[in-house]
């Protein structure tokens, strides 16, 4: 999933249109986008949208309220029976928080006749403690499908500006991407909040991709096309991957070479992942590349 578009959970107009812009995934937000006194009506509205399949359920996540609030369990009680299967948890810092959420999910799934573990979790790490605990959080439950980075709160806590200077975020990004890879999870990057700065968005996304992220969260439909492009294999990458696999077919195990470059198991695996990613996102190798 290259792009996850956020959508306020209390806006019928935006909910109904969220799926038409071409984002790979959607995140319907019950947390920051909804004022405290509007949480209840947002839950009712969003649950109805899931029940009536107005949103594409299979690619729609719900960002619930944080595990230290009074709303997260109400969010789950409403949204899971309505059909939500992907839950994004904000401000995760301790495995105990994940366990608490998993226990409630076990019970809700049982009450609703669902297979245990059907609901998966995306953890957002957006505090220094959450980032430092990335590895233990990644391994804290088999329900976890991805780790995401939340830069805004992280920058505020550490005291660094959020903007075009990308270097300060290399550390948390690398830590999260590495922890995710350790457990075979996807890593998704933080949002870019400067709507009119496409150059900044491209640089931010490319940096995240270079550090191992598979996609990025977005706050506006205008950001989708660029981010999808950045997180898609380039024609050169596709051609290279195909050449590697063609060469590998003639190798009798072990290592070989292609145009002076060593081909071994990790290189072959990476080539397979690139082609698989292209397949998943419907990208075909261009004629030029062939």
């Amino acid at each position: 999933m290259r792009s996850w578009l956020y959508c306020p959970g209390n806006s019928p107009k935006m909910i109904i249109n969220a799926g038409i812009y071409g984002a790979d995934g959607l995140v319907f937000d019950l947390e920051d986008a909804v004022a405290p006194d509007r949480k209840r009506e947002a839950r009712i509205l969003l649950a109805q949208a899931f029940k009536e399949r107005i949103v594409p359920v299979e690619k729609s996540a719900v960002r619930i309220n944080g595990p230290e609030t009074e709303d997260w369990n109400k969010d789950l009680e409403e949204m899971i029976p309505a059909g939500a299967l992907i839950i994004r948890i904000p401000k995760v810092e301790h495995p105990e928080q994940v366990h608490r959420i998993c226990n409630l999910l076990d019970r809700i799934e049982a009450d609703n006749g669902m297979d245990t573990g059907k609901v998966v979790l995306q953890c957002i790490l957006e505090t220094p403690l959450g980032v430092e605990n990335a590895f233990v959080l990644g391994g804290s439950s088999s329900r976890i499908s991805s780790l995401s980075f939340g830069a805004e709160d992280y920058c505020a806590a550490v005291g660094i500006p959020r903007g075009s200077d990308l270097l300060p975020l290399d550390y948390p990004r690398s830590r999260i991407a590495s922890a995710a890879a350790a457990f075979g999870l996807s890593a998704y990057d933080t949002v870019w909040g400067f709507l009119d700065d496409e150059t900044g968005l491209a640089a931010d996304a490319l940096r995240a991709k270079s550090l191992g992220f598979k996609g990025k969260s977005l706050i506006h439909p205008d950001q989708i096309e660029l981010v999808n492009r950045v997180f898609s294999p380039t024609p050169d990458e596709l051609a290279d991957a195909r050449n590697i696999l063609e060469e590998a077919a003639f190798m009798d195990g072990g290592a070989g070479s292609l145009n002076g470059r060593m081909i071994d198991r990790p290189v072959i695996l990476r080539a397979e992942r690139i082609l698989q990613s292209a397949e998943e996102t419907g990208i075909r190798e261009s004629t030029d590349a062939e």
Binding site: N17, I20, Y21, I54, H220, P221, D222
Partner: protein, 510 residues
């Protein structure tokens, strides 16, 4: 009787007399030679007056006659109000108002004149609040006649709607009586709609707040068509000119529709060297033009002409060589107003040359691509651009019926619902542009090709576009919105919608 748009049209209606129902076979242009050649006498000299009352008196205007205005000053117009107040002071009654459109302060002024008994009928391409509400409340004595820009030009050219006195606002005039819209402090650009009035009205009164002692650089209406000029303190406010339907959209849904529209244009093969292009003044249409500009710049494809309402973007495209000529019947913003008269590629055209079905080779019929906005469309591709589904008056005919009939590819771009009200319905409230002249509908929830255009369907079927039948599209939309509960229409006809050839497409009933 039932016309070919499926609408019940009476044989006659009080105030308008006999009505000719719309027939499909009449859609294609037939040159009838009805153009009336009554260019004014060249030896005439134009008087410059400071007194509106004296000028009106000299015009010979009588009760019951037809007077005309243009709406090039859009929301900045102050001329309509000044003239109607003078007519009220002079005690005129029962006049017919023939106007290219009514909006902004002019709507209030016209409504006041209706209520005072000065006006009994309005002939226009569109009208706005509060006049629109008054129409639906039955306050206008005779049915309003909605005519397209081309239809209005045809009616005036042919003598079908003789104008006794044309009141023509100009941003500057000279001592020869020449009028322009592209000079002076309150410039508004093209005077295309008024050019027809100037050519045919029995008496032409130019109205301006700027009299130049030098000859005008750019003459929109020559002095030999102008009987006299009244100098007033102010014709209006230039800032209001771009305040009508001009809105460049930042809404994600509208951007998505515009991108799909460009994809359709490219896949259809319509964007090819030498193509001609026009887009309406709706937010999505303007975005399509913007995206088209990027595409043309990237591919190096250049077109022959762009036309219609001129905008900054179109001026830029011509300046960059993307189109050879910009045919301008109405300037929508200051950039276009300033460009007219300064750039050789920027050509002013009359409403007749733009869109009259009686004008041989009018620009509308030379178009390859036309992008239209609408309030509603139905499963027969009939387009409504005047009323909403709920019957309220929201828009105008503009040049839509003319350009749709003439263009090689007529595309309607619109969101599939506004608020919670679907805009693609089984039946439109009011037929304004007949479906047989519309080729394709592009919405955010699907693209529907008129089955009549088998060639287009074949060409697009190989693309990745989200093509569905219009019936499927309606079902897709109704699944989200529910089936609308269409309000009942009354029995009293308060307006008729004329097709460009003068036949009646539909009636508004209250």
């Amino acid at each position: 009787m039932l016309n070919d748009a499926g609408r019940q049209i009476p044989d006659a209606v009080d105030g308008l007399g006999h009505l000719r129902p719309y027939k499909k076979e009449a859609v294609k242009r037939v040159v009838s030679g009805n153009l009336k050649n009554n260019t004014r006498k060249p030896e005439k000299t134009t008087r410059i007056s400071g007194d509106m009352e004296e000028s009106i008196t000299r015009s010979g205007l009588k009760n019951g006659d037809r007077i005309s205005f243009h709406h090039h000053l859009r929301l900045g117009d102050r001329v309509v109000e000044q003239v109607l107040l003078e007519l009220e002071r002079m005690g005129y009654r029962d006049l017919i108002l023939c106007v290219s459109s009514v909006m902004g302060p002019a709507s209030n002024a016209v409504l006041r004149a209706v209520r005072a008994g000065i006006l009994r009928r309005i002939e226009t391409t569109g009208l706005k609040s509060p006049l629109s509400e008054a129409l639906l409340a039955g306050e206008i004595p005779e049915p309003v006649v909605f005519r397209s820009h081309g239809g209005r030009a045809r009616a005036i050219d042919s003598g079908e709607t003789p104008v006794a006195a044309a009141f023509i606002a100009a941003s500057e005039v000279d001592r020869e009586g020449n009028l322009t819209g592209s000079q002076g402090p309150n410039r508004f650009g093209s005077m295309g709609y008024a050019m027809v009035d100037a050519q045919h009205a029995a008496y032409v009164i130019g109205i301006s707040d700027s009299v130049s002692n030098k000859c005008l650089n750019h003459i929109s209406i020559p002095g030999n068509q102008v009987d006299e000029i009244v100098k007033v303190e102010s014709i209006g406010d230039r800032a209001g000119i771009s305040g009508g339907s001009i809105r460049v959209s930042r809404r994600p849904v509208e951007k998505l529709i515009a991108r799909k529209a460009l994809d359709v244009l490219i896949a259809s093969g319509a964007v090819q060297p030498g193509f001609s292009y026009q887009a309406g003044s709706g937010g999505i249409s303007l975005l399509v033009t913007s995206f088209l500009k990027d595409y043309m710049t990237g591919t190096g494809i250049t077109g022959s002409f762009a036309s219609g309402g001129a905008t900054e973007n179109l001026v830029e495209m011509c300046r960059e060589g993307l189109f050879d000529t910009l045919w301008d019947v109405q300037s929508f913003d200051d950039s276009a107003s300033f460009s007219l008269g300064e750039n050789a590629f920027h050509r002013e055209m009359s409403a007749s040359r733009y869109a009259s079905p009686e004008y041989p080779g009018c620009i509308a019929e030379e178009l390859d691509i036309m992008i239209l906005s609408a309030t509603e469309i139905d499963r027969d591709f009939n387009v409504n651009s005047i009323t909403g589904t709920n019957g309220r008056i929201l828009g105008a005919l503009g040049g839509a019926p003319d350009t749709a009939a003439g263009a090689g590819l007529t595309m309607v771009v619109m969101p599939s619902f506004r608020g919670r009200i679907p805009t693609v319905n089984t039946r439109v409230r009011t037929v304004c542009t007949p479906g047989e002249t519309v080729d394709i509908l592009v919405t955010e929830r699907g693209i529907a090709v008129n089955p009549r255009r088998e060639d287009l369907l074949r060409r697009l079927s190989d693309s990745k576009l989200d093509l569905i039948s219009i019936e499927e599209l309606i079902n897709r939309i109704y699944a989200l919105t529910g089936v609308p509960d269409f309000p009942e229409e009354g029995s009293r006809i308060c307006a008729v919608v004329e097709y460009r050839n003068g036949t009646v497409l539909d009636c508004l009933r209250i």
